[in-house]
Symmetry: C2
Subunit: 198 residues, 2 copies
């Protein structure tokens, strides 16, 4: 044979599969507690094979969090482009965010757990804040249009709404669980119409 077989049957990684496994390890062990040394052991490849794809552990974290943030901002842009009432844009945003969360669960989980200890984490937190502002603005608009109840502060409503969406990372497991569309319906039904029969 002219080319050596991959070590112990483990294939080489492209950036995509490297990222997927790194995020899994970060979520299990914590980003800070995971060294590149341990990551290379988990992957069964050398550190230099990792550095072929990324310049640092920080870059892995940035790429992973961007995967979540880019998904959320794509949904936000779609929502903002919709005509009609703000409450429909808000509902589109919630529904789409649940879909992103279900589709990119480990990436969103990582994003929601960072605390701002590094420059990369602070940049991600700044994008999260931008997203939150966008939600609050939509809630305010929908309230001004008379579609959202005025007896709860819009900032509190926005936080509760995405608190509800984000809480899915604690229990939702796509495999074998509720399908994402059913889940998005459940979230929207409870958040917009309440669980009480009217």
């Amino acid at each position: 044979m002219s080319t050596p077989a991959p070590r112990r049957g483990r294939p080489g990684y492209d950036l995509e599969s490297l990222l997927t496994i790194a995020v899994k390890v970060f979520n299990e062990r914590g980003y800070e507690a995971t060294s590149m040394e341990e990551l290379s052991r988990k992957l069964g490849i050398t550190k230099s094979a990792i550095y072929h794809h990324v310049s640092s552990k920080d870059e892995l974290l940035r790429l992973a969090m961007d995967r979540a943030l880019d998904g959320l901002f794509t949904v936000a842009e779609e929502a903002m482009a919709l005509d009609g009432r703000a409450i429909h844009r808000l509902e589109h945003l919630v529904r789409g965010s649940v879909a992103v969360l279900a589709d990119r669960l480990p990436f969103v989980t990582l994003l929601l757990r960072v605390r701002g200890n590094t420059k990369v984490e602070r940049a991600a937190l700044a994008r999260r804040k931008e997203f939150d502002r966008l939600v609050t603005d939509l809630v305010k608009q929908a309230e001004a249009e008379g579609d959202v109840r005025p007896d709860v502060d819009p900032a509190v409503t926005a936080r509760l709404l995405f608190g509800l969406v984000n809480s899915l990372i604690e229990w939702y497991r796509p495999r074998g669980g509720t399908n994402p569309a059913t889940l998005a319906n459940a979230v929207c039904t409870i958040a917009f119409d309440g669980l009480r029969t009217s």
Copy 2:
């Protein structure tokens, strides 16, 4: 003076204040990442002074999580003792849980972050599961009584409801923020009646 002054102005600790500070450190640095050595440095007392109150780091964790769990189960017992419809018991439980969360925020935060790595953590997770079952049963009862919408699975409704409550740990800060009663009203209004004006 006949008695030595406390070291650098730090007073001795009773179990209560020891627990309060330990929980703060666990939440900031992670329970596993915190050694008794570091804890004693943070407290400005010797390790043996800590061991005067507790036998191990695990016992500190257990006491801290019990503080949260005991509060939640007290509320659950109160709710269960109420006459009338299940939806009122459920609303009492949500309102009371928000109050416990606001009052014992660091303890509940610690509880919600444990992953079951030790016997003490698994015991706490088992009590959390018992609490969750209780919520799901109430939702089912309320649905059977026609007060909760039947178009969302009761287990999903229960998870979303307490997902919403638990998400408060991510942003709610009692000092200078919304007061706990207003917060509990906002949570109940959105969860039970929805944010849409009907």
